[in-house]
């Protein structure tokens, strides 16, 4: 469960102050698949970075399973990111000179998993995001945008996080592959009780989530009376 209370993040740009996250509050039960839509520059990525403990809020608090992130020491925050969070970056942020498998293995390495085990799991995850076998050992700067995006998703799933924060995870994918990724995330939330928050411009994707949020000028609102459309299980 994730509880967000009066979250504010401001930036000073020159003489103006911008507030991409302005007094945001919401609660997500464990296992919820939620989406956030909003215009470019509305603060979606900024909000995700606060939830993922990449950045610290100007004010307000995020509590994960009752534990507040505010005032948590850096080493604990690192552990939180490693253990509890899977982050899919908008820009993928893979390590360019490492292979796809090595990139997916990284979070498991930091968690102290054995090499053989993490290699096996990395390959399984790459299969799940439909990256063909012969690209597993290719350096990620030699992969296409969509391929990199799927490696980034696989890396986010590596340590079986409780919360997955995905910033436009289907933005570079064709419809079919995008649908597959959505079913994958949906199955995760349903079968593994993983909380998933997806930022997307994709209406179809948003419509398949349990809860839909809209971010406008730093303010978060929720679309009411929505029911999750049933999905065929592919995995």
């Amino acid at each position: 469960m994730i509880e967000v209370k009066n979250l504010v993040r401001t930036f000073n740009s020159g003489d103006r102050t911008i507030k991409p996250v302005n007094d945001v509050s919401f609660v997500l039960e464990q296992g919820t698949l939620a989406s956030i839509v909003g215009k470019s520059g509305s603060g979606k990525s900024t909000l995700l970075s606060l939830l993922g403990a990449l950045d610290k809020p100007t004010s307000g608090d995020v509590a994960v399973n009752g534990v507040s992130l505010a005032g948590m020491p850096d080493a604990k925050l690192t552990e939180y990111r490693r253990r509890d969070i899977g982050f899919v970056f908008q820009q993928f942020n893979l390590i360019p000179n490492l292979s796809a498998v090595d990139n997916v293995m990284l979070p498991m390495e930091f968690a102290g998993m054995r090499k053989a085990a993490r290699r096996q799991r990395a390959k399984d995850l790459l299969e799940q995001v439909q990256l063909v076998q012969d690209k597993h050992d290719r350096r990620t700067n030699r992969l296409s945008g969509g391929e990199q995006q799927r490696v980034a998703i696989a890396r986010a799933l590596a340590n079986e996080p409780k919360l997955i924060l995905a910033d436009e995870p289907t933005g570079n994918l064709d419809e079919q592959t995008g649908d597959h990724i959505i079913s994958l995330l949906s199955a995760l939330s349903r079968d593994h009780n993983t909380t998933i928050l997806v930022v997307t411009h994709d209406r179809a994707l948003a419509n398949k989530t349990d809860r839909r949020f809209r971010l406008q000028q730093g303010k978060l609102t929720e679309d009411q009376a929505h029911h999750r459309t049933p999905l065929p299980v592919t995995a």
């Binding site: 080493a75 690192t78 498991m108 593994h192």
Partner: protein, 507 residues
Amino acid sequence: MPGEGGSDAGLPGRHLNHRRNVSVLARSVGNAFRNKVRTAAVVAVLAVAIGLALAMLVANQAVGAKVQELNASVGTVLTVNPAGGQGFEGGGEPLTTGLAATAAAVPNVSAVVGTSSLRLRNATEAAAQTGTGGQGPGGQGGPGGQAAATLTTSLTAAVDAGTLGNRNQQANGTTGSTGSTTTQPMRSLPITATGIGAEVDTTGKALTITEGAGLGDYTAESTNALLGTTLAEKNNLTVGSTFTINDQTYTVSGLFDAGTTFGNNAVYLTLPAAQALAGLPDELSSMIVTVNSLDNVASAKTALQDALGTDKADVTQGQNLETAVSSLGSVKNISFIAFVAALGTAGLIILLIMVMLVRERRREIGVLKAIGAPNRTIGLQFVLEALVLAALGSTAGAIIAAFASSGIASALISTNSTGTTTATTAGRGMPGGVPGGGAGFPGGGAGFPGGNPFGGASQLLTSVTASASPGVIAAGIAAVFGVAIIGALVPALLTARIRPIEVLRGE
């Protein structure tokens, strides 16, 4: 699905840290070669700095060892020679045992050892020369102008005369042999026999006896003799064997090793025995005076010179040696400073390149942090990457040092010891420019016969190249790694300050 992929197989645990470190190392090596052109350039610059550092260390160690050796050999020893015994022509009065007693009474003098030098010719060779030349070498003065008896012996010298030796013998031994130069027999160098009052060589250095025992009672006339190892070998003599000098039989009581070919072509007898052989029971060729401490050497030297009188004796401290030691000392200092400077440069190069790499990979460091890498893992990765560069630089640097060491060392020494070399040659009173080759005879004033401890720059250089040992190189490389770690630590600690939000920043 996650969870099915064998999640139980790898539980997190501290004992697994080393596995993680292996992966960190692999990443560091990979990162070191990420930009191959740049890596090559950095390694080349590092190699020059490290090579210079190693070469300087080698020079420093070699010179240091030499200085220690020189100090140990003649540190507190003064040599007293008869006045006027310099150069080719000598005059004046010989030293006497009476003067030895005077010397012993000088304050701070802890020991006085008299020596009596004899010049031994092989009996057969001498006879052959007398036959052709008419006048034998017997009774000739030493080339240093000092009277020294030449006697015949059953021993054969272990060293060939060489050019200088032949020239000397021609001048000394065959003065009357006009017209007979075409039939000169092959000659060997005369053997130096020295009567000594204690178990020391003519420089005051303790004799290294390799086999057998000493002469026994050094103050009494005896038929015991100590032979240099090469001389004994040449004559097939061992401890207990006998040989003759002027028809008198001597027994080999021990063998010594002076460390040099010429030094080992020598015989030591007791002082009274040598004096008796020479027929000059009261005379000494030289005195070796040991001063009780290094601090008192200068004052004791003055006191000794005053006590003996400038008309009778020359007291030398091996001035040239002192100059040599001090100029070598400055070479040692210069090379040490250069070593530290080159090492510091290598450290600085590593520091700068790592700072640059950290700045360049800011965003990537942010990614690692965002996916949960602890600060120490990232820091370690950068330190290891610096060590990879240091290792490559050291390898290339060691190769550079191997070729440059002796050149650098000789350049340092020759510029610093030119004056010294000249002084040594002049002071020896011998025409020989070849160290040791012309100095086999102790008659030449301030000479260091046989075991000449200072043979000029060329002898030093031999030991300099010999000292480029793997141990010194290893110590130097260890220092390079130490400096590399220090140099890499600063940028590695800088990574701790990079925040994970850097991932969202554009490059």
